[in-house]
């Protein structure tokens, strides 16, 4: 079997998230070097604060300032920081219960080594130099053996509150399309279109994915289809897509390649958009160095009879 194709695939997304009143106050507070918790009906103070009591589901909004100093409740030594984590040098992950709080906050603890960290140790917040209203406004915690600092009793009211965050995410993959699609893509590099025939129902699927969706069995027999085909249905696109260098209006069509039992997608060119029709006979147009047809154009043949493609609609 030829080598299966692989390629890097990066998925990046900047989620824009709204903050409710409690999260807004907490993250705005971090920007101003103030740590706020929220008090529950039974008098506990939750830090980081949430909008609903985790036990009773009661809405809670009673903000209360806590100290920037606290105690480690558990920890783990991370000798090899990964991308995106708070510090690039070895550090401890720690749950820290800030003075005045009843619950613990997860963050990084900057310490020289695991010997310098223990449950129960005293720490304080190290603020980020530039703060925007995000959890990363806390750069990390650091060991602290000074006195307790008393919070000033901030009310949680800010002149210019943060109302949202942008949570950027990036994940890296090495994508492999598997055996069947690898064969399809390899054939395209020779400007050939190859599908696979189902051993049970004999239908030819293109592009092949290795399984017949009707019979639920593996396909493996490769069948060359096309290059010519028939437009089975189409639509006229009137809105220009961002970063797409195609003039509107243009026609996007389902094309049943000769010998295939499934229509694939393609753009129709070489004919005015309002003259494209069901049954139009088309052929692929390749551009230099392309890995798939740029578009399909009319062959000049008479239109296909409806009965020849009605099952493929």
């Amino acid at each position: 079997m030829p080598e299966v194709l692989k390629a890097p695939l990066v998925v990046e997304f900047p989620f824009t998230r709204s903050l409710g009143p409690v999260q807004s106050a907490f993250l705005t507070g971090l920007r101003e070097r103030v740590v706020l918790g929220v008090r529950t009906g039974d008098g506990r103070t939750l830090v980081p604060p949430v909008e609903y009591d985790p036990d009773t589901a009661e809405e809670i909004r009673d903000l209360v300032e806590v100290a920037p100093t606290g105690t480690v409740t558990t920890w783990a030594w991370n000798h090899a920081p990964r991308r995106g984590q708070p510090l690039t040098t070895p550090f401890a992950w720690a749950l820290v219960r800030l003075d005045g709080a009843d619950t613990a906050l997860l963050h990084a603890l900057d310490a020289p080594g695991p010997h310098a960290v223990h449950t129960g140790m005293r720490v304080r917040i190290r603020w980020a130099a530039e703060r925007t209203g995000a959890i990363t406004d806390i750069a990390c915690f650091e060991p602290y053996d000074g006195d307790r600092t008393e919070p000033a009793g901030h009310t949680g009211e800010f002149a210019d509150p943060v109302t949202g965050i942008v949570a950027a995410a990036r994940l890296d993959y090495t994508y492999s399309p598997g055996r069947a699609q690898t064969a399809y893509i390899n054939a395209l590099s020779g400007r050939r279109t190859v599908g696979e025939r189902c051993p049970a129902c004999r239908k030819v699927y293109v592009p092949p994915r290795g399984a017949c969706p009707t019979c639920g069995v593996a396909t493996s027999e490769q069948v060359e289809v096309g290059p010519r085909g028939t437009v089975t249905t189409f639509c006229i696109v009137n809105i220009k897509a961002k970063n797409l260098d195609i003039e509107v209006p243009y026609v996007y069509a389902h094309i049943a390649l000769d010998g295939a039992d499934l229509a694939l997608h393609g753009r129709i060119g070489g004919i005015p958009y309002d003259e494209v029709r069901m049954g139009l006979r088309v052929e692929p147009v390749w551009t230099d160095g392309a890995r798939y047809p740029d578009h399909y154009r009319p062959t000049g043949e008479p239109d296909a009879d409806y009965d020849t493609y009605k099952e493929l609609l």
């Binding site: 903050l19 783990a76 598997g178």
Partner: protein, 354 residues
């Protein structure tokens, strides 16, 4: 739902799984899944068209692609149209949905499957995306780091120590020696610290795999299987998402789910626990009150093979298979999801008296 199954009884009648491997990049997801679907159908002599309801569990974040489960449906034979559903969770929760569907009488048989290909991405990073997006995910704490926090909490509480964690790993992987599908089996070095106090040996293998079971109700189950694994109860519970709100040395949600599933009504002889990290097995044994009379993870558990999204369904399948084979009369199966055992599902399975 509670443990009361109404006036219908539902059983696991067949189970199949892949050989779990570090990578399977020569296969697409549907290519990996299809042999398992065929095998589980073959066990019952059924065809796709005989299945009333199909439910699957998987995650787009593993593949890095939206709606990835729709491509896997090709392996089921989804044309002509079938009654189908999907959970973006471990397949154990898909089984829960199928179980409720059968209890309502809407269906007599169900195919439940789950798959995960972790090999294209970095699963430690991928799993950070399930965390609280405001306060936690921006820090990118990976799955090993969070499990390590739980381990240290247990050590501080005197519930375990590093040698005891190593013993959990050794026992599970020794048990996996008899499991032809397991990815890691036999003696495995505890290795270096990944995130202290967890060493590589305390962590699950990263791999690709799939699992499938068939459920059937009442007489249909008896027709399809010589000794059905009757589901006496299932329940699942979730805890507060804030890690610092929870007691990481305990699993209140597991205990409650087990109680509601009827697990404590009579002793079980087997427990398949979904504990990808050694400290989690310590927590679960305590929450489920499992003593040495119970055979825990005879398959090797998630420390031997942990295909994400399928590993929980595997626990139910392995427990059911022991009942099918007559090696167990009453088994508990557990599945988890989220960091540090955040969500937990418990199922109780029984074979008829012999």
């Amino acid at each position: 739902m509670t443990s009361a199954p109404g006036d219908r009884e539902v059983a696991v009648v067949a189970f199949a799984q892949t050989v779990h491997r570090r990578t399977s990049d020569e296969l697409s997801e549907v290519e990996m899944l299809m042999p398992v679907l065929h095998e589980v159908l073959d066990h019952t002599g059924m065809k796709t068209a005989d299945i009333d309801f199909t439910c699957s569990g998987s995650s787009d974040y593993l593949a890095g692609r939206a709606f990835s489960f729709t491509l896997a449906l090709d392996g089921v034979g989804a044309w002509p149209p079938i009654s189908e559903s999907h959970v973006e969770m471990d397949g154990a929760w898909a089984l829960y949905e199928a179980w409720t569907k059968l209890l309502t009488g809407d269906a007599d048989t169900a195919l439940v499957y789950a798959y995960g290909k972790s090999s294209p991405g970095s699963v430690r990073d991928v799993l950070t995306r399930q965390l609280d997006p405001y306060y936690v995910a921006p820090l990118w704490p990976d799955s090993v780091a969070l499990a390590a926090l739980q381990a240290q909490a247990l050590i501080d509480a005197g519930d375990t120590d590093e040698p005891a964690l190593a013993a959990v790993a050794a026992r599970d992987r020794e048990a996996a020696s008899a499991n032809p599908h397991a990815q890691l089996k036999g003696p495995v070095a505890q290795g270096e610290y990944l995130v202290r106090p967890l060493r590589t040996g305390d962590c699950p293998p990263i791999g690709d795999g799939a699992a499938a079971v068939i459920l059937a109700a009442d007489d249909r189950a008896r027709d399809l299987c010589a000794r059905p694994a009757w589901i006496r109860g299932i329940d699942h519970r979730i805890e507060a998402h804030g890690l610092g709100v929870r007691d990481l040395t305990d699993s209140a949600s597991t205990r409650l789910a087990a109680e509601r599933a009827g697990a404590f009504e009579r002793p079980v002889d087997t427990a398949e626990l979904h504990a990808p990290f050694t400290p989690q097995e310590i927590v679960l044994r305590k929450a489920l009150r499992l003593d040495d009379s119970v055979v825990v993870n005879p398959s090797g558990g998630a420390l031997a093979a942990n295909p994400i999204m399928a590993a929980g369904l595997l626990r139910i399948g392995e427990a059911a298979a022991r009942i099918h084979r007559g090696e167990s009369d009453r088994a508990l199966a557990h599945a988890t999801s989220g960091p540090c055992l955040q969500q937990n599902l418990v199922a109780v399975l029984e074979g008829e008296p012999r």
